[in-house]
Amino acid sequence: MSEHTLDARNLLCPMPVIRTQNKIRTLADGDTLKVICTDPGTLSDIPAWCRINGHSVLDTQKGERELVITIRISKGAA
């Protein structure tokens, strides 16, 4: 179980979702991924993508410019 970070700053949706998806493909069950974004659209899109693909959003932090979404990867259903 390891922790990973993905820099998706200055990318516009759906690119942060695509990068998150592609990164998660390389991670293991139980790993966590922190995605750092600037597009506010990611606040709805990344959790939606996680819900339909069975991953859980552990935390969302909204800063002045940056958003950090922490995801726990679940490969159980795959």
């Binding site: 979702v17 998806q21 597009d39 709805s44 819900r51």
Partner: protein, 347 residues
């Protein structure tokens, strides 16, 4: 017990592809969705364009549809590969710069590759016979099947009964009797089916699924090809065509001016790549200079920027200019009057 057959469904976010996927789900097939990001999609980054505060967040319809259907969705970045489809469509363009037939062939082709890589059995789309003049015709359907490489593993559940049986039907993976025979431009059968499935909320894309069917957008794209280094583009170019007022006062540069807060926020993200201007003495929008501009050009751009700020009726407006290298200075300029701006400057 044999495991169910697997279908990959092209999901655009609209109603037709949603219904097609549901029809196949009802037959006990395992369905997962695939959605392509070409850069021209109306979906997605329009988030970034909307106003941040107050406005209802705009959802990504493809993700929303997948969630309603309870299926996985794979979003694929095809920005690079898609360029050839837009720049050199073998079958030409539709009413605007929409290469629909090549585009469909390309997307089904990508889905076919994904299907093979992931051990799926067939592909489904929401196409309806006779619905779109260019790509959804009896004579173009076989072209899509052939050029994509999908052949008869391409199933169109909404009009399958009007077409020759495909492999999934012949093999009994799906029951042809429970597929449909929608044709023509009427949306009534789709709406009735949606009601039957208790789908009450769905996106209704007007002309098409992308900006290439939008005349205002494609006029700006034509301008880009005419005035740039020829017919090509980068992702940033086509994203910027979606926002702001575009004015080309000189062949070698154009000005992109935000029209409201959401667009200004969007343009802010790009400002470091461009010489940019903003009113210093009045409230107003950010403007980017796309192209090369000398001192006279920058003064002209400043007068245009002043025209679209709250000081437009003043004798003089102070504009802050920041060059690409970060050098900043201010100019006092007289705003253009609307009569002084030739109509052909507006793209």
């Amino acid at each position: 017990m044999t495991s169910p057959r697997k279908a990959v469904a092209l999901i655009s976010g609209g109603l037709d592809s949603m219904l097609a996927a549901q029809v196949i789900l009802e037959q006990g097939v395992h369905v997962e969705g695939i959605n392509f990001f070409t850069g021209f999609c109306v979906e997605g980054h329009t988030h970034a364009i909307r106003k941040h505060e107050g406005a209802k967040p705009k959802r990504n319809n493809a993700l929303w549809v997948a969630e309603q259907l309870g299926i996985k969705l794979h979003i694929v970045d095809v920005v690079e590969e898609y360029k050839d489809v837009v720049l050199n469509p073998k079958h030409g363009y539709g009413a605007h710069l929409n290469p629909c037939l090549d585009c469909k062939g390309f997307m089904v082709g990508q889905a076919h590759r994904w299907m093979e890589e992931n051990g799926f059995d067939f592909i489904i789309t929401g196409e309806v016979l006779g619905q779109r003049p260019m790509s959804q015709r009896r004579d173009t359907f076989p072209i899509i099947a052939r050029e994509s490489g999908a052949g008869d593993r391409l199933l169109r559940p909404l009009c399958a009964q009007l077409l020759p049986p495909t492999l999934p039907e012949r093999e009994g993976w799906v029951d042809r009797e429970r597929l449909l025979k929608f044709s023509g431009r009427s949306r009534k059968p789709q709406m009735a089916l949606a009601a039957q499935f208790k789908i009450s909320e769905y996106a209704q894309p007007a002309g098409g699924c992308c900006f290439l069917t939008d005349p205002n957008y494609t006029r700006k794209l034509q301008d880009l090809w005419r005035t740039g280094a020829g017919k090509h583009y980068e992702l940033d170019d086509i994203m910027l065509l979606k926002v702001g007022r575009h004015l080309r006062p000189r062949p070698h540069f154009k000005l992109i001016i935000g029209r409201e807060e959401g667009e200004n926020n969007f343009l802010e993200g790009y400002r470091r790549q461009f010489t940019h201007l903003r009113p210093a003495s009045h409230n107003g929008s950010l403007a980017l200079i796309d192209g090369s501009a000398d001192a006279d050009d920058i003064r002209l751009a400043a007068r245009l920027t002043a025209r679209y700020c709250q000081g437009r009726d003043e004798a003089s407006v102070r504009i802050e200019v920041t060059e690409k290298d970060g050098r900043a200075y201010e100019l006092d300029v007289a705003p253009f009057t609307s009569e002084e701006i030739p109509r052909e400057w507006h793209l």
